[in-house]
């Protein structure tokens, strides 16, 4: 037998083993104590994260269907890190939840799907991974079992995501019909600029744009984000979107390389709409989850701006931004998770006077929102700067200036939350929220990430070298 598979697929293997272990725990039903179970799961996820950094070798498997290299390992590690932080943040919510292990089993199944998707070098493997990563998410969105809104969000998600998958599948089938292969490397030279294959490209693009929730395919985002439990919302906005961006980069830059004049225009339109509409709608949101949904639509627009570059500069800028985005967005979501788990409230006006009794959580929220807005001392500034410089290399100055103007607009709504937390003084400010130790650890990870990443220039250099290979 050939054991290469076990080494190259180590992140998938370890995830599968964890899923099995949890399933056996569930079937055995020996540990009744939720807190103990959560510690076990967090420990396993930590080990899973650490193993991602060792023994990484390049290679491909299954006659080129599955391939892996240092960039892919880094991308998988970013996803694992995000998963670990989300798991820490779910502690308060899950410690009284009946279906705790099912939550993790479904969550890790989606992560497994994403790992396969990122590593895929073939449309068949890619689609399998995509579906494995999107179907359990609908079940997860319904995880607040007694809330109607949660069911509504799950239904909206599964219907619209099935529709998007169908469109993408149609595109893939046309591409197969045109070129006669599903392999990315074999397909790339065979693509001609016939209208049929361009139509197929647009279908595939539409499927991706739906998953990235970039305008005009964003309509599901706000409702799903609002209804789903906070941990699932943060998972959707960071991990799920991050994985899609990673494979989107591969598909655009390698498979559709010959179409770059076409997709740059498509991306420009989509990103301008995403940034503008995301920002304008974020201004008038009262619910924090809806607000973060529109803010994430705008952030995706900036990532697409880097992708218009079409070279390795854009790729490394996007990966670096996603790393920073993981820290800063998860920090902001963590505070919302804390508020929601302790009080059940999720609106901006509920956060008025939050600073009076919750000094640490307020600072976490402030730093993370500053990082999302891109204000200098935080890593968000450097990440945004790399994105914009990558976009500017192509000389698209109209697009760049509109995007940069929108950054100023975005400051308004990020500061609106900070104003509610620090400046507004209601008569009865929110009581002290006693987050668990796990929540505090996740906050420390998030703010240190959101600050240190900006100064760790070695990291960006590292990303630049591995994407250059």
């Amino acid at each position: 037998m050939n054991f290469d598979a076990f080494i190259l697929m180590k992140s998938e293997m370890s995830l599968t083993l964890i899923i099995f272990f949890l399933l056996i725990l569930k079937v055995w039903d020996g540990i009744k104590d939720n807190t103990a179970l959560l510690h076990v799961v967090n420990f396993l996820l930590l080990i899973n994260l650490i193993t991602g950094f060792f023994g990484n070798t390049d290679g491909s498997l299954f006659s080129g269907m599955f391939h892996t290299n240092n960039t892919i390992y880094l991308e998988k590690n970013i996803l694992k890190l995000g998963m670990f932080i989300i798991s820490l943040q779910s502690f308060d919510w899950l410690k009284n939840h009946k279906h705790l292990l099912e939550f993790y089993i479904l969550m890790l199944c989606t992560l497994l799907g994403m790992d396969f998707m990122i590593s895929s070098n073939n449309f068949l493997m890619f689609f399998l991974g995509l579906e494995l990563s999107s179907i359990p998410l609908a079940a997860l969105a319904n995880f607040d079992l007694e809330k109607r809104k949660s069911s509504e969000s799950a239904l909206k998600m599964i219907l619209s995501s099935a529709f998007a998958s169908a469109i993408m599948l149609f595109g893939i089938s046309i591409l197969y019909g045109v070129t006669g292969t599903l392999d990315f490397t074999e397909m790339a030279p065979l693509l001609t600029t016939s209208q049929l294959s361009i139509l197929a490209f647009l279908f595939v693009f539409a499927g991706f744009a739906f998953k990235l929730s970039s305008v005009p395919f964003h309509l599901w985002t706000a409702d799903v984000y609002e209804g789903a439990p906070v941990s699932v919302t943060s998972y959707l906005s960071v991990i799920s979107k991050g994985s899609i961006v990673f494979i989107f980069i591969t598909i655009l830059f390698q498979l559709f390389k010959s179409y770059d004049t076409i997709w740059v225009n498509v991306l420009n339109i989509s990103l301008l709409l995403s940034i503008t509409i995301g920002n304008l709608f974020a201004m008038r949101q009262e619910n924090i989850k809806r607000f973060l949904a529109f803010s994430s639509i705008a952030q995706m627009g900036y990532i697409l701006l880097a992708l218009t570059n079409g070279t390795q500069t854009g790729e490394s800028a996007a990966i670096f931004f996603l790393l920073v985005y993981t820290f800063s967005n998860l920090g902001a979501f963590g505070v919302v998770a804390l508020l929601s788990a302790e009080t059940g409230k999720e609106t901006i006006s509920d956060m008025k006077g939050f600073y009076v009794n919750n000094k640490f959580a307020s600072w976490v929220m402030a730093i993370c929102l500053f990082s999302l807005a891109g204000i200098p001392p935080t890593a968000g500034f450097f990440a945004k700067m790399f994105l914009v410089t990558a976009g500017a290399e192509k000389g698209n100055y109209t697009v760049i200036s509109i995007a940069v103007l929108n950054m100023v607009v975005s400051l308004y709504y990020y500061l609106r939350i900070i104003k509610a937390i620090f400046i507004d003084k209601p008569d009865t400010p929110l009581a002290k929220l006693n987050g668990s130790m796990m929540m505090k650890i996740s906050f420390v990870i998030c703010i240190s990430g959101a600050i240190i990443m900006g100064f760790a220039s070695n990291l960006f250099e590292y990303i630049n070298t591995i994407t250059g290979k």
Partner: protein, 116 residues
């Protein structure tokens, strides 16, 4: 090629779907009688209206059945090639069956196999 191919694809798609329906509607002789309205293959005529809510348990059983149905379909090609692929194949099929078996155990544990 070009836009002609797209239009051709569109026309073929519509024609393929609607053509079959039109053809069967045009060619087939239609006769109406009482026997035709009876439930097919199930024998017994229904009592009362059939537009009732079904117990969700039916779906659970159907899903679990489907999983093991598909498992068997996967095992046929394995059984044909089992001598050629050797011990590795045997281990893989055991892992595969173990995965599905865990799912069955989970469903069992959750009481999905209990009728109502």
């Amino acid at each position: 090629m070009g836009s002609a191919a797209l239009i051709l694809l569109l026309i073929c798609g519509v024609a393929f779907a609607s053509g079959g329906m039109l053809l069967s509607w045009g060619i087939a002789k239609s006769s109406k009688n009482k026997v035709k309205d009876e439930p097919y293959e199930c024998g017994i005529p229904t009592t009362g209206t059939s537009w009732i809510q079904f117990n969700v348990g039916y779906y659970l059983f159907a899903l679990i059945f489907l999983i093991f149905d598909v498992e068997l379909v996967f095992m046929y090609p394995w059984a044909v090639a089992v001598k050629k692929i050797g011990i590795g194949g045997l281990i893989e099929i055991i892992v595969f069956m173990f995965i599905l078996f865990m799912g069955l155990l989970y469903a069992w544990r959750k009481g999905a196999l209990k009728w109502m």
